[in-house]
Amino acid sequence: MTTATATTADDLDAIGDIPATADERATRLPTPLDLYSRWERQPWSVADVRVARDLDTWRALRPFSRQELLNALAELEVGEVCVTQTLSSLVDHAPNPDYQLYLCTQLADEARHVRFFQSYLGEVVGIGDGSAEGQALAEATDYATVFEPELRRTTEAVRTGGGDLDQWFTALAHYHLVTEGILATTALRTTRQLAKRLGLAALDEGLANVTRDESRHVAFGLLAARAGVRDGHRELIADAYLSAVALAVEVLVGPQRKTAAPSLRPALLQRAAQIETQWELARDRMIRQLSLIDLRDLRDRAERVWADARSAALDSYQERWGVEHPVRRAEGITARAKAKLEAERD
């Protein structure tokens, strides 16, 4: 059975029922049991997506778009494998039965996401799970290098700490708030836009299904984090969140991988704008999350963390590849054009 519900641009906008006032509407979150019910109403299967129907379109893609999609799929797949392998400690040590019931549904979702990305990579892209090529692709992702070790460490600490609440919230910040709420949702949205644009119908449909699941996961992260903030774990959640954000920015900028960009100026500017839009989307999510989990006062600090991490990652890109990141190059061009214009005016 497939669900008929189409996922709109951003399911994060659609969480919860309709509350009375605008202020409530803006900050209302569902309960874990609401999310459980949504899970029952929103089933889908990887087999029904029939990924192989994208084969001809995939083969006809231009090298630039194919590489872009491949990179995005690799990051998503690596992330899904990692969250599937690390969620169980959060389930086992959930602070209450409702959280645990909901988290069991998420475990099944994550397994389905892994299957979807593996099927797509295997049947459409031609990179089998466990193949040397697949291995190399996964290892080259920025998520695997930068974020995965920290997610594994924080979720493992929940287990070894016997369910200590501070550790549970630290892991939640890395898992639900940042990996899912910032990185996955941003990657899903931009990849889906590209899939649509390039006419990859199965990829578009599969990503829409994954996005719908992820919106439940993200909503859970918000409701649990907000309860934690209100319940005496404020400082701890704030610190864990900010250190996870710094890592997420590095993943977004991605110094491990050379970013393809044209050198013809107008096209370079377009390319830089594409990338920048994606980063801005992620940054907006951070700001929105802070307000939803009652950490509005963290905003200035979070923006500074973001800007510093961005500039450090752009530096390490340049160090690693010996050339400026396309976004930096574009910034330089724009700044010089502006200076020239001002000089002419004087």
Partner: protein, 84 residues
Amino acid sequence: MTEDDKVGRRVREIIGEMCPLGEREARSTDRVTDDLGYDSVGIVELAMVLEQEFELQPIDEEQAIDIVTVGDVEELVRLATAAA
């Protein structure tokens, strides 16, 4: 046919072949975005193909021009081939 004409003709051919609205004949006066439907992804793909085909070198920023029409792209490629 001069070298310039050859470059222009080939650029028009590529732009026509890669047209997001479907393959068609592109004229120098066609507007890349408004008439031929090139969006940001399309323009980046096009630039990558042109850079490979003509082995383009980065050009002096002073000479860089904005792209509105197919003719602008032809001009840009001529400049960048001359820079090589």
